[in-house]
């Protein structure tokens, strides 16, 4: 029996979709059977980030409304046989799916896959309820900003109310040199405020833009710092104990050389 994990944040633009794509690809590269579920109906993006936008025939709403079989709607990844995507519908609205249907869908997918990773839409309305309905584990993504942390706090409260216990935190887009100068909240500040377990920290990395441009998740690039962070997070999800990457690793001259040659700390 697999595990259903929802990736959520409250605030938009903090990197839920990027996180979903990279974690799912990371888990698949470790040999796990993974399915990604895009629940952002009307604003689907996960297909583009994964570079699978040209393969879509059916979507989530087609499945829940019985227009096609579940197998028909699952898109196989280009890189991994054991990775699939169930895309969101682009032309329908959020009320087209009900939480009960999502629960049922997750139950079915759990039997086939090791991990069901759900990309949750921003906000706390219907989309959030749908995305969390079938989830048993939650990962909250935030960035080191007042607005994002505030929304993360709200989401943590809502997850607890929905009886999804012990959500874990990913701090995304942290900038080590700003933290060093005292101009950005550091990891401990955010953990203190939100009082949840840390799953990982992803440094700001220009390579994410490049990888999204190409539709190839950064987790597969051995030179990307964010990719390294996502590889570590994927391992932690499976229960492996992996230490955090030291944050100033990419600022020194020596580590830049190391990075250039693809040597990882």
């Amino acid at each position: 029996m697999g595990e259903v994990i929802v990736i959520t944040s409250g605030k938009g633009g903090v990197g839920k979709t990027t996180t979903t794509a990279n974690i799912s690809t990371g888990l698949a590269s470790m040999g796990k059977k993974v399915v990604m579920l895009d629940t952002d109906i009307g604003l689907r993006n996960l297909d583009v980030v994964m570079g699978l936008e040209n393969r879509i025939v059916y979507d989530l709403v087609d499945v829940t409304q019985g227009n096609c079989r579940l197998k028909q709607a699952l898109i196989k990844d280009k890189r991994f046989e054991n990775l699939c995507l169930l895309p969101a519908a682009q032309t329908k609205d959020k009320t087209a799916v009900q939480p009960e249907q999502m629960k049922e869908l997750c139950e079915t997918l759990k039997k086939e896959f090791d991990y069901v990773i759900i990309d949750c839409p921003a906000g706390i309305e219907m989309g959030f309820k749908n995305a969390t309905a079938g989830a048993e584990r939650a990962i909250v993504v935030t960035t080191p900003e007042v607005s994002a942390v505030r929304d993360a706090d709200r989401i943590i409260g809502l997850l607890e109310a929905a009886e999804i216990r012990n959500p874990e935190l990913i701090i995304n887009r942290i900038r080590p040199n700003m933290v060093k100068k005292g101009d950005m909240m550091d990891i401990d500040d955010m953990i203190d405020i939100l009082a949840i377990d840390l799953l990982g920290v992803v440094p700001e990395d220009e390579f994410i833009v490049v990888s999204t441009n190409k539709g190839e998740p950064a987790v597969l690039d051995m030179k990307s710092v964010a990719g390294q962070a996502y590889r570590n997070i994927s391992k932690r999800i499976t229960g492996e104990d992996v230490p955090l990457i030291p944050l100033d690793a990419d600022t020194g001259f020596l580590s830049k050389i190391k990075k250039f040659f693809g040597i990882q700390a």
Binding site: E145, V146, V149, R150, D153, R154, G157, V179, K181, G182, D183, M184, M185, D186, D189, I193
Partner: protein, 97 residues
């Protein structure tokens, strides 16, 4: 001297230049006190008005200069009111006997 300070203080200047993370932390802390207590600004305002009505039975207070807000330490939430007192209300209940 001034020049020397400039040279010596050169390294320091950078680190003390803003430190905006503490501002972020403090603002976030206060916002979350309200969010977590789920007390709406309207409720807080109604509470403030009622409180001031009661207090003005006893004292002459500056309603405009009054602030009512929530704050917290690690364990508890406190309601903090700052109410400037102009003087006692003569002839009111408190002074009657």
């Amino acid at each position: 001297m001034d020049l020397l300070e400039k040279i010596l203080g050169f390294g320091k200047k950078k680190s003390s230049h803003s430190n905006s993370k503490n501002i972020a932390k403090e603002r976030l802390r206060l916002v979350l006190v309200h969010d977590r207590a789920s007390i709406s600004p309207q409720l807080l305002d109604a509470l403030k008005e009622d409180m001031l009505d009661v207090i003005s039975n006893y004292m002459d207070i500056d309603r405009r200069g009054t602030t009512v807000k929530l704050d917290s330490d690690d364990e508890s939430i406190a309601l903090i009111a700052s109410i400037p007192v102009r003087g006692m209300n003569k002839g009111q209940r408190g002074m009657r006997f």
